[in-house]
């Protein structure tokens, strides 16, 4: 498997696709910093404002990355189907599970490398502004969650790419899947926000729309999906502490407890990763390679 990994990493880092995406992601990060750095002076509060720019840049990075990963993984892996390389690897003695895991490791590590490079770029202005005004714990939790999400999301796209031999179809299904996931996440979040708002209005005796209040079972189901679905977690990387604390007052919750909640979330993502990968390997083992 070591030889296979070396060969795949070499193929990834020599491919034009990887360098195009790397350059585009660097340009995107530089633009995010430049765009916010050109804010009118009345919105700036010395170095503190860069903390918000940094948070926004991280949030937009992961939002854009999920689309980039859909395209990159699909084009990178499905080329092997088109060239017959996967069949050759199996003929030369590698098991299907090893072939699958190699692709998964290469795509995930590539995603992490791109994230680290872009994190370094958006952190550069801190050398000028300093890091006062930044909450180190929140930033650390955000970075860890994004890194875990990159791995979980790559597991989903590797599943599609390994099972769909056509390059074009693989790209289409991956992008359509992520759009459906994002729209579903938006609708789930909308339901929960309306429910919370209506309950608050009801408690304060003001007019509220009864139809927007969810039943107990309904609310539990939506909340569970809100935590489990990777795209919901992507949306909540921006208000991560509120999300982890279930929108209670975070000033009353110790950092250690928030870290434990984060560990729980990462565990959920790990379970998603394991289930998706196991399903992918099982189906790939039975797939007829033409």
């Amino acid at each position: 498997m070591k030889n296979l990994l070396k060969a795949e990493f070499s193929r990834m880092f020599r491919s034009k696709l990887f360098w195009i995406f790397m350059i585009l992601s660097v340009v995107f990060c530089v633009y995010s910093i430049y765009d916010d750095a050109n804010m009118p002076a009345e919105f700036r509060q010395s170095g503190q404002i860069y903390g918000y720019v940094f948070e926004a840049a991280l949030y937009f990075y992961i939002l854009v990355y999920i689309f980039a990963a859909a395209v990159l993984d699909s084009l990178f892996i499905s080329r092997e189907h088109a060239d017959g390389t996967i069949r050759n690897k199996i003929i030369s003695g590698h098991s299907r599970a090893f072939v699958y895991m190699t692709e998964l490791i290469v795509c995930s590590v590539t995603g992490l490398i791109m994230f680290i490079v872009n994190l370094a770029i958006i952190s550069l202005p801190f050398l000028k502004f300093g890091i006062h005004g930044m909450d180190g714990w929140v930033t650390m939790r955000r970075i860890i969650l994004i890194a875990v999400l990159i791995i979980a999301i790559n597991a989903l796209f590797v599943l599609f790419s390994m099972l769909i031999p056509s390059r074009a179809s693989s790209v289409v299904w991956s992008i359509v899947f992520i759009i459906i996931m994002l729209v579903s996440s938006g609708l789930i979040q909308d339901k929960l926000d309306n429910d919370s708002r209506s309950r608050n209005l009801r408690e304060s005796g003001e007019y509220y729309e009864h139809s927007k209040i969810l039943g107990d079972t309904e609310r539990k189901v939506y909340k569970a999906l809100n935590y489990i679905l990777p795209t919901n977690q992507v949306i909540h990387t921006y208000d991560i502490d509120d999300f982890l604390a279930d929108y209670k007052d975070t000033s009353e919750i110790p950092q250690k407890k928030l870290n434990i909640y984060l560990a729980g979330l990462c565990l959920l993502d790990a379970v998603t990763f394991v289930l998706v990968t196991a399903a992918g390997i099982t189906i790939f083992r039975k797939k007829d390679l033409k």
Binding site: A168, V171, S211
Partner: protein
């Protein structure tokens, strides 16, 4: 060319691609209303208006067109069909126009199919809608011109790129970027019009203020944050992007303000992109 058209229409309507896209749109058209029905309490049906779901087909037409055009026209390059058509005596311009006609017709059929299915489900499950049927049909007609414009744009990309995989990737990314751009532009122009409303007679004449008050937007008036070329460009995209048009259709109860410009821009985009596409296709070598 008539024989080529007949063959292309037959290929389109007997192929899996068209029926898969139709199936996807049928599921999409029905699912929003069915999900709303399933999650609404029984006493609240009369308060539910699902007009917005009627235009989701148009909002998603960018992605639908990207997939359909890239697979339908892009496959011809991969399979060598275009070379065969040229050998059989057809011109490059004729092949291009045929592809445009077939893709436009197929996507307009899909657009109207989505609309009628969504309308049927809305009416059966929830009853009345805000828009009158005649207004909806006029909006769909403007939307059909927008569909042709989007199809022409995607076909231009596909014929320049000459590969199904790259075409579908570039076209889908373009559709997503246009959608994000149109949401950002709509939000920015809404803030711009709020700023004008608050500023009142200081920066806007009484006549234009009356237009702003009636339609919630007035064109060509600079504000402190948005002015000059930037404002003009954003107003152009506000009227010309199909997703922007569709979002405005779903928000308003009558024909949107500046609808004539939408029609003109749709026709202009179709003509310009077709011209660029034909000229590029004629000059490029077939691989």
């Amino acid at each position: 060319m008539i024989r080529l058209l007949r063959t292309e229409f037959a290929r389109c309507f007997t192929g899996k691609l068209f029926w898969l896209v139709v199936l996807f749109n049928v599921v999409l058209a029905s699912s929003f209303n069915v999900l709303t029905y399933a999650t609404t309490k029984s006493g609240d049906f009369s308060n539910v208006f699902t007009d917005k779901t009627l235009y989701i087909g148009l909002i998603s037409m960018g992605l639908t067109a990207a997939v359909f055009v890239a697979f339908h026209a892009g496959s011809e390059f991969d399979e060598g069909t275009i070379r065969n058509k040229l050998i059989a005596g057809n011109t490059k311009t004729g092949i291009y126009i045929c592809d445009l006609a077939v893709c436009s017709a197929a996507l307009i059929i899909i657009q109207y199919l989505y609309f009628f299915i969504a309308y049927a489900f809305s009416y059966i499950l929830f009853g009345a809608l805000h828009h009158s049927f005649s207004v909806m049909m006029q909006l769909q007609l403007i939307g059909a011109l927008g569909t042709v414009a989007v199809t022409a744009f995607m076909l231009m990309i596909t014929m320049i790129v000459r590969s199904r995989t790259i075409a579908v990737t570039v076209c889908m990314i373009a559709a997503i970027v246009f959608f994000i751009a149109c949401v950002a532009i709509i939000n920015e122009l809404e803030e711009h019009s709020m700023e004008l409303l608050d500023a009142g007679p200081e920066i806007i004449s009484a006549e234009k203020y009356a237009v702003l008050d009636k339609y919630s937007y007035v064109y060509g008036v600079d504000s402190e944050n948005l002015f000059g070329t930037e404002l003009a460009v954003k107003e152009f995209f506000y009227d010309s992007l199909l997703q922007s048009q569709a979002l405005r259709f779903s928000d308003e109860r009558s024909l949107p303000y500046h609808w004539e410009f939408m029609v003109i821009y749709n026709i202009a985009i179709t003509l310009v992109t077709t011209l660029i596409g034909v000229v590029s296709f004629r000059r490029l070598d077939l691989k």
